[in-house]
């Protein structure tokens, strides 16, 4: 029975990581439902963007207060996770503080983890206050009710609990070290958890061991739980922010992509020598004619779907959106959240039907994103500029408009008039092209 804890530990570890791998596979499968895009260009610029924007948090600190708080949580969490490595080794081998032979270095590490843990606790509490007491505008928009709201708070509670468990484990350990209990090697420095001493005062050794062991176990089980919570949460950003900033848009923001299939068609139409009976659709016979624009998640690109999974629901985009600021329904954050929700729905459909999609009479357009939202966009790029993780909500809006106009001929009537004018007289207003130079003669 001596090895029971080790066996339980390995079992928990395998289960936790196993579930996580399953979720990652599902995530990859769902993203691959999107259209392939070539993102093999400019690798050095892409790496630089990832280093700057994700690792370096450059766009987070545009808003100094949440930026700084986030840097603390982010660094704290990453660095404290070095400790998880030790915990895992200890758990498997049944050792205790296996890195302690590092001596002074070890003391320094543990001490800095403790200080960071305290800072993380403070930051998480401030985050919670901003959401629940101050109720900052961007956290209480209509799309932030229900699960998104619960999720945001749960993340903060879980992080808080993990940090408290970490400090409790150290605090009890420190007491046991003072009592010279076998197995509890004297190692580490405990600048924060030493202050827990009064709390442990007068406790028996077995109770202290119970507290230390419980905190240790709950901490590692909590981390494994959190790892598997990510897939269901906006907290997925802690992983996806990295690939997402790598694959982020490199062209000037004003540039919208060129649709190559249309180009071929236009060239043939404009070419007087073209064979009128030729296949002008740009596709081989027998192949499906490509659909213009997007009405569902499968019509979007893989980068756009990755964007949806990466979204932190921070609302910086919506906060800057001129349409949203003036009371229109459009919220770029909601565009991203809807895309993710629909993609999840499609994913579940695939799970339930052995990997083939069974038509559910639903789509992203209308069932999630309404036309009213799409037509309110001024294409101003404020949302794209504001996003700290290089998400491009505008591209989804434009692709959906393209579907409405090119597949459904359903633009608002004023826009149809405008396009009719362009078609007939080369200007969005009903003026003759022959009058284009009249201004030069007027005074």
């Amino acid at each position: 029975m001596q090895y029971l804890p080790n066996i339980l530990f390995v079992a928990a570890l395998v289960a936790g990581i196993g579930f996580f791998v399953r979720n990652v596979k599902k995530l990859a499968r769902n993203i691959k439902l999107g259209k392939k895009v070539d993102v093999t260009d400019n690798t050095s610029i892409r790496w630089k963007n990832m280093f700057k924007i994700a690792l370096g948090q450059t766009k987070m600190v545009v808003r100094p207060i949440p930026g700084l708080l986030h840097v603390i949580v982010y660094l704290g969490f990453i660095i404290i996770n070095i400790e998880v490595l030790e915990i895992i080794i200890d758990g498997i081998l049944g050792t205790h503080r296996i890195f302690s032979p590092l001596g002074a270095v070890y003391d320094f590490l543990i001490a800095s983890f403790e200080i960071l843990a305290l800072l993380v606790i403070i930051a998480v509490i401030v985050f919670w206050i901003r959401r629940n007491i101050i109720r900052l505008g961007r956290f209480i928009k209509p799309e932030m009710t229900g699960w998104p709201k619960t999720d945001a708070n749960w993340i903060l509670y879980i992080e808080l609990i993990l940090m408290v468990l970490f400090l409790t484990m150290n605090g009890a350990d420190y007491q046991l070290q003072q009592m010279n209990v076998a197995h509890y090697t004297k190692a580490g420095a405990f600048p924060i958890s030493q202050f827990f001493t009064p709390f442990f005062e007068g406790m028996s050794m077995p109770s202290l061991i119970l507290i230390e062991r419980s905190a240790w176990w709950l901490h590692i089980l909590g981390i494994l739980f959190f790892l598997n919570y990510l897939y269901y949460s906006k907290h997925l950003h802690i992983l996806l922010a990295f690939p997402n900033t790598y694959f982020g848009k490199l062209d000037p923001k004003g540039k919208l992509n060129n649709l190559e299939s249309v180009t071929q068609e236009v060239r043939l139409m404009m070419d007087p020598e073209a064979d009128p009976y030729a296949n002008t659709s740009g596709v081989e016979d027998g192949q499906e004619v490509p659909k213009f624009g997007a009405s569902d998640v499968m019509d979007l690109t893989r980068v756009q779907l990755l964007n949806a999974y990466t979204c932190t629901e921070c609302g910086r985009c919506t906060n800057e959106c001129p349409a949203n600021q003036t009371g229109k329904k459009l919220s770029p954050r909601k565009i991203m959240m809807d895309t993710r929700d629909r993609l999840e729905e499609v994913g579940k459909n695939l799970d339930a039907n052995k990997g083939t999609f069974k038509n559910d009479e639903k789509q992203l357009l209308d069932d999630y994103i309404t036309r009213e939202e799409l037509w309110a966009c001024t294409s101003c790029n404020a949302c794209v500029e504001a996003c700290p993780v290089s998400i491009d909500p505008l591209s989804i809006i434009m692709d959906m408009r393209q579907y409405l106009v090119m597949e459904q001929s359903e633009a608002p009537s004023e826009l149809n008039n405008m396009m009719g004018n362009i078609e007939n007289n080369g200007a969005p207003w009903p003026f003759s092209q022959l009058d284009r130079l009249n201004w030069a003669k007027e005074n």
Binding site: P252, K255, V266, F292, T326, T378, M400, R401
Partner: protein, 263 residues
């Protein structure tokens, strides 16, 4: 002082065997909208004064296709683009200057994929270049002490990262440049982009141009400077809505400069 505008067309120059240095792309607003035509003329006056060798396409120019593309009609956009590119390439145009940020963005970023590769400049960038080269000089006398706030057009600013040229020009006028609470990268849209210019806005509490005008008025400006004919219209409407048109002018940077030089 109103001298006759000299506006050569590419067709005329080409018939005479000449090639201008730049093509001035006037744009639909600049050609047809009464307010925007004044901007066009102000810019031409400066070009004439600086003796810049330029031409326009005149009746051979057609909409770049920007509003069609932003509406979602890729087909109409490309039809426009491909026929414009045919004209531009036939005249062997190398350098294009335009007073409209939407034309600027489309010509610069979206035409290359369709075979239209030119050096494209916005008129504020070009004017700055003229000053640097000493082709025009600016003494700010007229605007000294005036408070000017500058509205960043989305398609010049965020879309193409041009924030400095228009501001440098305003400062060269000796005016006091006052920034709105949302400026540069965080500039608030005027509400016209993405083909909104051509339709009624969706239901909401306010129009975007009113929100933006309120931000501009907070700076207590004498002049609201714009660098886009559509922004100009939206801000002019906003100022009228606030009944401030008697005291606050909405002017394009080209108009400010033409004004400063008594052109």
């Amino acid at each position: 002082m109103e001298s006759e505008l000299k506006v050569p067309t590419m067709a005329e120059l080409s018939a005479a065997g000449q090639q201008p240095e730049i093509l001035f792309w006037v744009g639909c607003a600049g050609s047809f909208d009464d307010r925007a035509k004044r901007i066009t003329k102000a810019f031409v006056k400066i070009l004439n004064r600086a003796q810049v060798s330029f031409a326009v396409l005149g009746t051979e120019e057609s909409c770049t296709g920007d509003p069609a593309k932003r509406t979602g009609n890729e087909f109409l956009f490309q039809m426009q683009a491909v026929s414009n590119i045919e004209v531009l390439n036939a005249y062997e145009v190398k350098k294009v200057v335009t007073t409209c940020p939407h034309c600027f963005n489309t010509l610069k970023n979206e035409y290359p994929d369709l075979g239209g590769k030119y050096e494209v400049m916005h008129h504020t960038q070009f004017l700055e270049e003229l000053i640097k080269e000493g082709k025009i000089t600016l003494e700010g006398g007229k605007f000294k002490g005036k408070r000017i706030t500058y509205h960043d057009p989305c398609y010049l600013g965020r879309a193409n990262n041009v924030y400095k040229a228009p501001r440098d020009l305003i400062e060269k006028l000796d005016a006091e440049l006052v920034e709105m609470k949302n400026c540069k990268k965080k500039g608030l849209c005027c509400g016209a982009g993405g083909a909104q210019m051509f339709k009624e806005p969706e239901k909401g509490d306010k129009d975007v141009n009113i929100e933006r005008t309120e931000q501009a008025l907070e700076t207590k400006p004498d002049i609201i400077a714009a660098a886009c004919p559509f922004c100009n219209t939206m801000m002019t409407d906003g100022v009228k809505n606030k009944e401030k048109e008697a005291t606050i002018a909405v002017l394009d940077i080209a108009e400010l400069i033409a004004n400063a030089k008594d052109l």
